[in-house]
Structures are given as structure tokens and as C-alpha cells.
């Protein structure tokens, strides 16, 4: 049983302070233990763990983005990996430029892959990529613009349901193929890698890693707060109504397509931020991130965690990623059985995902109580 006080807290503010609090404590703990305790100390948290957690938190933010559109607006996007990857590429381009003349060919201007493909100069779309501000802008604008264009076309034409899902998949698939092409100027299959530093701080130093990790946690907290705010506003209710019956929403005067585009764009930007934080921590971005299977996996995080519950999405991303990390190490040849089995079992046994499990148990408990009191009341009524 969760202590009464926490439950009350939940009731009052929802999950917001809990999630933010958890994030804060973890971040603090991890940073302190990584920097303050030396290796070998029992309290030490290794840099490996820090980057791993950093990666998980990026996934969590991404899951949040998916949940916002899927859980609340009913848009099952099988292409959110595209927004994540675009954010990642925006960051990757910036990091690439920071290498400067420390690349293998020592060209101060061009990234290595352009040098050996005999490119003379940077293509136009790389313009500004060495500016930090521009990078931040692109991290938001890239995914946002794609989401806006795709969304306003699709939602205006009332593409919905599986049609929309499969089109998002086609979108990310097409982008994957495009980014695979060397002519695209994004490093082809190898993508962007071998980054050296960010804003002058070496990416390989522990402090930078901790800072990146903490920033990711911060973004996740902000993202959570933002989503929380959105879904609990009247706008959130409109969006839920759209999920229920889009056409009915129209007849009371809302333009569902505007709402959908808006929320799609917000979600894409969140995914973009997740991608941007992901790249410096894992050290590579390549077209594989556009792969439709990746996007499906994101949806699965949300489903496992509990669709339509913001903290559920986070839990789902963390659980699945952690399971993957552990399983691939403990049972390298059988981990797919375990992961596949996990997916099947969660679907069968926890229809509302992990996040729906605890409340439903609580509900049952409460219900039993309530039933009893109602029965008593009726009995009393009948007697009288």
C-alpha cells in the first residue's frame, strides 16, 4: 500500500510533483556519487551508468512525446522516430562542426565524410550549423516544421486512424532511405559521429556527461510539466474529445485539425529535444534512428507503461530500455524471447499498462469497500 500522504499528494496535484521529485533526487544522487566518490568506492556511480541513465531519460522524454499524441489525442504515430532523429541530426551537425580541423583529414571547414567524397564546400543546409543558437533553433524547428507540414496536410485532409499511422511510418521510412543516401550530405549510413566537444567542453569528461545527464533530466521534468499542463487544461479535454469522436467535435465548433496539428508539433519538438540530448550522450546519430521499427518500439514503451498516463510513458520507456540493457548482457542469445514475452504478457495481464496496474488494484480495494457500504445502505432502505 502506498502511504496515505503520498496518495493524498497524488490526488491534489496529480503525478507532477512526484515525477519531478523523483527526477531531481535521482539526478542529484547520480551526480554526487559519480563525481564525489572515487571508483571502487561502494557509493560510486560509474560514468557508464550515467550515460546509460542519460540515454534512458532521452527515451523517456521521447515516450512522453508519443504518449501526448497517442494517449491523449488518439494519433498513433508510427513515425515519431523521425522527429527524434531530426533533433538528433541538428545536434549532430553542430557537434560535427565543433570538430573543426581535428578531423582525420584536418579540413577546418568540412566534416570528414564530405572531404573524402570530394565535396568542395558545405551544402547550403549546413549553413549556420556551427552556431549553438542555430542548433537549438534547428532542434526545435526541424522536427516542428516536418510535423507541421505533415500534420497540416494529413489532418486537414482528415487522414486518420490506421491510414495516418501507416503514413507516418512511410514518412520515417522515406526519410531513412533518404538519409542513407550519401548524396544527402548527412554522412550516409555511417551518420555523424566522432564528436569531440560541445561549447568547448570535452564530451569525454565526466563533468560534461553529468551536466548532459542533468540537463536531460531537467528537460524531462519540463517536458512532463508541459504535457501535464496541456492535458489538464481545457485544451486537453478538447483533445481527448477529438480522440473520442473527431467529427462530433467539429459540430460544436472546434477545428480538430488545428488542435491535432498543434499537439503533433509540440510532441515533435519534444521528440526533437530528446534526440538532441541523446546524440552527445551516445556519440552517434545515423539513419537507423529513422527506422520504422524504432518508432514502433516507442509506441510499445508507451503501451507497456500505460497509454494515456504521462508518468506511465516514462515508466514504460525506462522499463523496456532497462530490460533491453540487462537482457542483452545476461542472455545474449535468448533475450528476444524474454523481451517478446514481456510484451505479450504485459498486454495480456496489464491491459492498462504498468501505470494502470497500481490504481486498478487500489480501485478494486476501494470498490470492495464501497460495494459493502452501498449494499448496507440498500438493505437499510429496503427494510425501512
Amino acid at each position: 500500500m502506498i502511504p496515505q500522504s503520498i496518495q493524498d499528494l497524488f490526488k491534489k496535484f496529480g503525478s507532477l510533483p512526484v515525477v519531478v521529485g523523483c527526477l531531481f533526487i535521482t539526478t542529484l544522487y547520480v551526480s554526487v556519487c559519480n563525481l564525489a566518490f572515487s571508483e571502487g568506492s561502494a557509493l560510486h556511480v560509474s560514468t557508464y551508468t550515467v550515460t546509460l541513465f542519460g540515454k534512458y531519460l532521452c527515451y523517456a522524454l521521447l515516450a512522453l512525446a508519443v504518449d501526448l499524441v497517442w494517449g491523449y489525442c488518439g494519433i498513433l504515430s508510427l513515425g515519431h522516430g523521425a522527429f527524434f532523429a531530426l533533433g538528433g541530426y541538428a545536434m549532430g551537425m553542430y557537434l560535427m562542426r565543433q570538430i573543426g580541423d581535428r578531423g582525420v583529414y584536418g579540413n577546418p571547414e568540412l566534416p570528414d565524410f564530405m572531404v573524402f567524397l570530394n565535396w568542395e564546400s558545405l551544402p547550403w543546409y549546413w549553413a549556420g550549423s556551427d552556431s549553438f543558437i542555430w542548433m537549438i533553433f534547428m532542434v526545435l524547428a526541424g522536427p516542428g516544421l516536418l510535423a507541421y507540414i505533415f500534420g497540416s496536410m494529413a489532418f486537414r485532409s482528415r487522414v486518420s486512424g490506421v491510414y495516418l499511422s501507416i503514413m507516418t511510418q512511410a514518412m520515417t521510412y522515406a526519410l531513412m532511405l533518404a538519409f542513407f543516401r550519401n548524396e544527402m550530405g548527412f554522412g550516409g549510413n555511417n551518420g555523424l559521429t566522432d564528436f569531440k566537444d560541445i561549447l568547448g567542453f570535452s564530451l569525454q569528461s565526466d563533468t560534461t556527461r553529468i551536466v548532459l545527464f542533468a540537463l536531460t533530466a531537467l528537460f524531462l521534468a519540463l517536458g512532463f510539466a508541459l504535457c501535464h499542463f496541456i492535458v489538464n487544461s481545457k485544451m486537453g479535454r478538447v483533445v481527448t474529445a477529438i480522440r473520442d469522436s473527431e467529427s462530433r467535435v467539429r459540430f460544436i465548433g472546434y477545428k480538430p485539425e488545428h488542435y491535432k496539428v498543434w499537439i503533433f508539433v509540440v510532441s515533435a519538438m519534444l521528440a526533437g529535444i530528446a534526440g538532441a540530448m541523446y546524440v552527445p550522450q551516445v556519440g552517434i546519430i545515423n539513419p537507423g534512428e529513422f527506422s520504422p521499427l524504432n518508432s514502433i518500439e516507442m509506441v510499445i514503451w508507451v503501451a507497456i507503461g500505460g497509454r494515456g498516463s504521462l508518468y506511465g510513458a516514462i515508466i514504460g520507456a525506462l522499463v523496456v530500455s532497462y530490460a533491453k540493457t540487462r537482457f542483452t548482457a545476461i542472455m545474449p542469445e535468448a533475450w528476444l524471447y524474454a523481451l517478446g514475452g514481456l510484451f505479450v504478457l504485459v498486454t495480456l495481464l496489464l491491459p492498462k499498462g504498468i501505470a494502470g496496474f497500481v490504481p486498478s488494484v487500489l480501485d478494486k480495494f476501494k470498490q470492495a469497500k464501497k460495494d459493502k457500504s452501498i449494499a448496507e445502505k440498500r438493505a437499510a432502505e429496503v427494510k425501512s
Binding site: I166, A334, V344, V346, T347
Partner: protein, 542 residues
């Protein structure tokens, strides 16, 4: 090129001068074969070819076919044939004693290389001009036509009189004309050009283009009247050939498109049932295809002697295997997800991971070999520049057959009606005595079974490995959605048009860009028709 020519020439000279005294004994030469390595076998083969012995052709044929071996034990040179039980039947080249069947480990191949084989083939072609079989003679003339020289032309001229087959005569005449074109006077060239202007043989065109290029090097003023006439004739002939070629190219692209479309259709059509009709987002569909392909492999392993008929066993077998697995999945998992269609995505994705790993565990992660039956190999040469490969042809026919069978089932049978009724309103269908559980299981089994059949077909085209399913799942969903969910005709039209679109684009843009363009085109198209090509119509569709 020159070397080839010289080799053939020397061989030929010796072959023709049958009485060449320096000729060594055929038997002795053959017995030397096992002792030669790749570098010094050529002179030996030249000598063998020079023998006037009726066994020469047989030996040379066996060499090009790769059937000439020697026994490790006694270095006896033999030709081999595979027996149905996996052993080899041996025929000694020398001597007539019967040999016992042997396994391959007891012998070693007489090694040759492409170059040597290609040279021998040229030589054989000349010998083959008098072969009993028309097809062999035809092939021989063709071979000569591709690379004519005065000797071979002389031979053709000689045999032309006695040749009875229309086709062979025609081809021989073409060969002579080409020769005339290459070696004759300007007038002869001009008349040859006219005679050849309807020929689609590549060598004809090559010769003409070469000649035209030669003429084009001169200024018009430098050309004689005859030259000019030739040039005009050439331009005209090449144009007419070009025109014909472009027609055939179009037909070819169309066929490629339809055949790609058929593959897409087969891959997607099972999904059109499980996803389109039942509404299950079946991420394990690809793995059902994969299981079908592995079934083909197992069937071939079980009946290695019946490769030619293996597909006829494999098709029902794959249907049963994939269908049963489908039913298992439905009974074990999907039925608990009624009314939660999106969650089927999650569960079936899990299942697909498990199935992939399962075949990795059972069959290893490596691809498995699936042999092509004889009747599915090769191509149907319609004319020198246009042929249709048999496997594609059969696949197109087969895909359409499966499609129409399924269509009839869904539209005509009462089960088909029940499937659709359950899909639209399960509760109500049950209240009308439809046993929805059974219908669900059968439907899912049917969709999966058809995916299994698709796997049999794909085993003839691509890898049979754990990733087979993954490569088709996205395309399958695209096809079903593009066609309009729940509409089988839509699936057909979508598959065929995607296939054709892709194949007409590919020569223009390359296959990577073609894929991208098709995808983008699809996304744009859906804006125009948000419910696919054949949307569900009416009020109820909203």
C-alpha cells in the same frame, strides 16, 4: 579478345586437319588431365580439341558443364551424373568398364576457369552446327553470331544448305548478313543493312552503330554517294531498331512492375485479411511469411529427390504450418484483446520477436538454401532482346490465382460473410448465431496461412532467413492501406500499381530514389484519398 581468337583459331585448324600427324594419342592426353593445374591446363585442352575423335565433343561438353572429374584413387577421368539418392553415377571417358556409383568425396574436379570454358564453348559451337537437336544448333549459331569470324562463317555457309529448320536458317542468314556487313563492300553493307533492319539481335545493332560511328567521323563532304546512302540506311535501320526496342522496354518494365506487384500482393493479401478485415494490427505477419519459407526449406530437406515437385508439397504444408501458428496466436493471445485493436500491435510485435529468435535457435541465424525447381528456372526468350523469367511468370499467375480464390471465399462463402459480420459487430453477429470464436480463429488462420504461401513463393526469390519477414512487413501494411483497408480489390490494385510505379521509375532515378519517391507519392496520394484507393463507402464508414 585477340587471345581468344587465336586459341579458337589454332584449335580449329588442328580440328579440321584431321590427319595432323603430330597429334598425340587421345587417351594419353586425357590421362594427363588430372595432373594439370589451372595455369597449364589450357595447352592440354587445345591438344585434346585438336584430336579427331568422336569423344572430343563429349569431353568438351562435360568440361563446360563442370561434370568432368577424376577419381582420387587411380586418377581415372570420368564424367559424372547425380543420382536421385545423392550419389554420382560415373562414366569413364576411356575404356568401357562399368564403374560403381561414388560419393563426391572420392573424386576431384578437373579445374577450369571462365576463360577456358568460354573458349571451349566457341569451339563447341562450331561442332554443334551439325548437332541432331535443333535447339543446340540454334544456340550454336547464336554463339557464333555474338562473336563471328571468317572460319565460323565459312562453316555456317557450308551448313546453311543442309539446314532444314526455318529458325536456324533464318539465324544463319542473319549471321551471314552481319558478316557481310562487317567485311563486305559499301554496297554490300548497304544491302545488308536493309536486310537486317528488322533484326533485334544485339550484335546486329552493335555492328551498325559501330559502322555509323565510323562514318560519322568524316565530314559529310568527305563521304562518297555510296557512303551517304549507307549512312542514311544505317540511321534508318538503327532508328527502327531503337523504336522496337523501346516498345519492348516498355513491355518489359510493365512485366517487371506486375511481377513486383504480385510479390507485394502475395505478401500483403494475408494481412488484408488479418488487418484489413479483422482489424488486428498484426506485426507478426512477416514472421508468418518467414515460417512459410522455412517450411519450403524443410520440405526440400525431407524430400531431396523431389525438388521439382517440392513446391506442390510446400504450398499446402506452408499453409498448414503458418495457419496453425496463426490459430495458436489467435487462441493464445489475440482473443483476449477483443476491442483493444491497438494492443494487438504490442502483443504481435512481441510474438514476432519470439518467432524470429525461434528460427534462429532452430535453424541457426544463417540463411537456408532453398533450391529452385527446374521448371522455375531460366527464362522464356521471346525475342533476342525480350525474355520473361519463368519464376516471375508463374508467380504472377499464382498470385492472381490466390487472390481470386480468396476473393471468392470472402464474397461467396457463408464463412466469408461471417468473417465480415464479426469484424463489424461481434456482439450482434453472435446474437445471430455466428460462432465468433471459431470465425476469428479460422480467419486469423486463413490470413496467416496465406502469408505462409507467400513465404513459399518468396523462398524462390530471396533469402530464407530470420529477417525475411521484417523486410516485407512495412510494404505489406502500405499496400493494404493504400488500397483501402478492408477492400480486397484495393489490395490488388494497390500492389500492382505500386509495383509498376516503382519499376517505371527505377530506370530513371535508380532504385533508392525510386523507393523514396514512391513513399512520398503515397503520402501525398493519401491526402487526396484519405481512405485509400477504394475506401469503405457510405455513412457507416465514418
Amino acid at each position: 579478345m585477340l587471345r581468344t581468337f587465336c586459341l579458337i583459331f589454332t584449335m580449329l585448324i588442328s580440328a579440321l586437319s584431321a590427319t595432323a600427324s603430330a597429334a598425340e594419342d587421345f587417351d594419353a592426353l586425357i590421362n594427363q588431365l588430372p595432373h594439370k593445374n589451372l595455369r597449364n591446363i589450357t595447352p592440354l585442352l587445345e591438344k585434346i580439341a585438336a584430336q579427331d575423335d568422336e569423344r572430343v565433343r563429349f569431353v568438351l561438353t562435360e568440361i563446360v558443364n563442370g561434370d568432368l572429374y577424376y577419381l582420387k584413387s587411380n586418377k581415372q577421368v570420368v564424367s559424372i551424373r547425380k543420382t536421385p539418392d545423392g550419389d554420382y553415377q560415373l562414366t569413364a571417358i576411356l575404356g568401357a568398364q562399368a564403374l560403381e556409383n561414388q560419393s563426391k568425396s572420392a573424386m576431384k574436379k578437373i579445374r577450369t576457369s571462365n576463360r577456358i570454358r568460354s573458349d571451349i564453348r566457341g569451339l563447341l559451337a562450331q561442332l554443334d552446327l551439325t548437332h541432331k537437336k535443333e535447339a543446340v544448333r540454334l544456340a550454336a549459331v547464336k554463339q557464333i553470331l555474338d562473336d563471328p569470324n571468317s572460319e565460323s562463317i565459312a562453316l555456317i555457309k557450308k551448313h546453311l544448305k543442309t539446314e532444314k529448320s526455318e529458325d536456324v536458317v533464318q539465324l544463319m542468314e542473319t549471321a551471314m548478313a552481319v558478316n557481310q556487313f562487317k567485311t563486305g563492300s559499301i554496297q554490300e553493307k548497304t544491302s545488308a543493312t536493309k536486310a537486317l533492319k528488322n533484326s533485334l539481335e544485339p550484335s546486329v545493332r552493335n555492328a551498325m552503330v559501330q559502322e555509323l560511328n565510323r562514318l560519322s567521323e568524316y565530314k559529310n563532304s568527305e563521304l562518297s554517294e555510296d557512303d551517304k546512302a549507307l549512312k542514311a540506311a544505317l540511321t534508318k535501320a538503327i532508328d527502327s531498331i531503337k523504336q522496337k526496342r523501346s516498345i519492348y522496354e516498355f513491355i518489359e518494365n510493365l512485366f517487371f512492375g506486375l511481377s513486383l506487384g504480385s510479390v507485394l500482393l502475395l505478401a500483403a493479401i494475408g494481412l488484408a485479411i488479418t488487418f484489413g478485415v479483422m482489424g488486428v494490427i498484426n506485426m507478426a505477419h512477416g514472421e508468418m511469411i518467414m515460417l512459410g519459407a522455412y517450411t519450403t526449406y524443410v520440405v526440400q530437406q525431407l524430400f531431396p529427390q523431389w525438388i521439382d515437385y517440392s513446391l506442390f508439397i510446400a504450398i499446402p504444408a506452408a499453409f498448414i504450418v503458418s495457419g496453425s501458428v496463426g490459430i495458436l496466436i489467435e487462441r493464445g493471445v489475440i482473443r483476449f484483446l477483443k476491442g483493444r485493436p491497438l494492443e494487438t500491435l504490442l502483443a504481435t510485435f512481441g510474438i514476432s520477436l519470439i518467432l524470429q529468435q525461434l528460427v534462429r535457435t532452430i535453424f541457426s541465424p544463417l540463411n537456408r538454401t532453398v533450391a529452385a525447381p527446374e521448371w522455375m528456372s531460366g527464362s522464356w526468350q521471346i525475342n533476342p532482346i525480350f525474355s520473361i523469367t519463368y519464376n516471375r511468370l508463374y508467380i504472377v499467375i499464382f498470385a492472381l490465382a490466390v487472390f481470386f480464390a480468396l476473393l471468392a471465399f470472402m464474397k461467396r462463402s457463408s464463412l466469408g460473410l461471417h468473417v465480415r459480420a464479426v469484424a463489424q459487430n461481434r456482439e450482434m453477429a453472435r446474437a445471430l448465431s455466428v460462432r465468433s470464436d471459431r470465425v476469428d480463429a479460422i480467419t486469423f488462420g486463413l490470413g496467416s496461412g496465406i502469408a505462409g504461401i507467400a513465404g513459399v513463393v518468396l523462398s524462390q526469390l530471396t533469402n530464407v532467413g530470420p529477417n525475411l519477414g521484417q523486410s516485407y512487413i512495412i510494404d505489406s501494411f502500405l499496400v493494404v492501406v493504400f488500397g483501402g483497408v478492408g477492400n480486397l480489390w484495393g489490395t490488388l490494385v494497390a500492389a500492382m500499381s505500386l509495383g509498376s510505379f516503382n519499376k517505371f521509375l527505377e530506370p530513371l532515378t535508380g532504385s533508392v530514389l525510386a523507393n523514396i519517391i514512391v513513399l512520398v507519392g503515397l503520402v501525398l496520394f493519401i491526402q487526396k484519398r484519405p481512405k485509400g484507393l477504394f475506401p469503405q463507402k457510405g455513412r457507416a464508414a465514418e
